[in-house]
């Protein structure tokens, strides 16, 4: 079973549209995982049924026991995050501001404060409208994505793929280069980089590729909206060649991409022309690469 991770560094390059298209092209052969949990939107295209939902806990939040609290105010003085407020002579914790550092509990003379695991959100195991399994998650307000949540989503996806005998796990990776991306990339067999010829597109492509290189994961790149700036597109091609990154294909700026989105379909379901062909070809190259590799 091979794990393919799609990342972009920069948002808005078309990463999720392309990931969803790949999933539609290989619907019978994969389990999908949406690790872009901060701004998860692959579900808009794939309409998962959320058949299994489980709470997800990450980090800790302080809780003050009102019966034990003597309202001395030491915790209020100690908190660096302004998370403790007083209400009618008692003190209470605002879970949105609390970082779970535990400093308040150390200052409390009556041991009225304890840390409890904080609910960060819900993770789901679903069947999509294209009949494959998708593991995804929704964060609660004020919660953040973490390496832990990404590792969990990927672990569930791998387990489902093994149980169903599917050859691929396709991961919609997290943005940026932080902890969730490290966790998205770790253990991957192949990385698909999605970029666009803009100043920030190239900048973020190079930043995120540093990480991919550090992990020694083979990578390919799709240049989306390749015709909006031909000079920068040429710079990207040079970079790909220099770094031995597979050139998987180039998509033009095309309003059919937006029309597919509006219709709630993946690009390859909506478009029957050049866009579909390019994506089919790109997916074939990805498969060829991962099917022939044995180590990571």
């Amino acid at each position: 079973m091979k794990e393919i991770v799609v990342i972009s560094g920069k948002g808005g390059t078309g990463k999720t549209s392309i990931t969803a298209s790949f999933s539609a092209l290989a619907a019978g052969d994969l389990v999908a995982a949406d690790c872009d949990v901060d701004a998860a939107d692959m579900h808009l295209l794939l309409k998962p049924d959320m058949a299994l939902a489980e709470d997800f806990y990450s980090g800790e939040t302080a809780v003050i026991d009102p019966d034990a609290c003597i309202a001395c105010g030491r915790c209020y003085e100690a908190c660096h995050f302004g998370a403790i407020h007083s209400a009618e002579g008692f003190y209470a914790v605002d879970p949105l501001s609390c970082e779970g550092c535990g400093y308040c509990a150390r200052t409390c003379p009556t041991e009225a404060i304890t840390n409890h695991p904080g609910k960060a959100g819900v993770w789901y195991s679903s069947t999509t409208r294209l009949a494959f399994t998708m593991i995804h998650a929704a964060l609660g307000i004020g919660s953040e994505n973490s390496g832990k949540l990404v590792a969990h989503v990927k672990k569930q996806a791998r387990a489902a793929a093994l149980a169903q005998g599917k050859p691929y796990v396709l991961v919609d990776g997290s943005p940026g280069i932080g902890c969730p991306v490290v966790s998205s990339l770790s253990g991957a067999d192949y990385v698909v980089l999605v970029t666009e010829p803009t100043v920030s597109g190239v900048h973020d492509l190079k930043r995120v590729y540093e990480l991919v290189k550090k992990f020694n994961i083979p990578a390919g790149c799709i240049i989306n909206k390749a015709d909006i700036n031909t000079a920068i597109a040429a710079t990207i091609r040079d970079f790909l060649e220099l770094e031995h990154i597979d050139q998987l294909g180039e998509l033009p700026y095309d309003e059919n991409v937006t029309r597919a989105m509006v219709a709630g379909l993946t690009i390859v379901e909506h478009d029957t022309g050049a866009l579909r062909e390019t994506l089919q070809d790109a997916w074939k190259r990805v498969r060829l690469h991962v099917d022939s590799s044995t180590q990571k």
């Binding site: 390496g147 902890c179 966790s183 992990f215 994961i217 180590q295 990571k296």
Partner: protein, 113 residues
Amino acid sequence: MKIAFTAKGTDWKAEIDPRFGRTDYIVIYDDVSKVLSSIDNRSVEDVAHGAGPQTAQKLFDLGPDVLITGNGPGGNAATVLQKTQLKIFLGAGGLSVEAAYDAYKKGTLATFA
């Protein structure tokens, strides 16, 4: 000499876990006493951030001379490990611990720079 492996199990047949920070187990082979041992690292699942440095600390306490893994440590863990004398070999993900040890002996694994 002590050789550490990131692995999904605890014996010679276990598959190498390509992940460093979130590896399930660390398997240690002492080629003098010929003893294979392991430590359970699955508690790292509960760590939201900083899995890499935490596993690096555990590894440091075990004191191996060589680490054999898959993708290699991420930025933070790498910064810590590069301050030690540990030699890191990569690209063993998907192999068994046994096959990874053979590959290391034959010198076919990539080194971490």
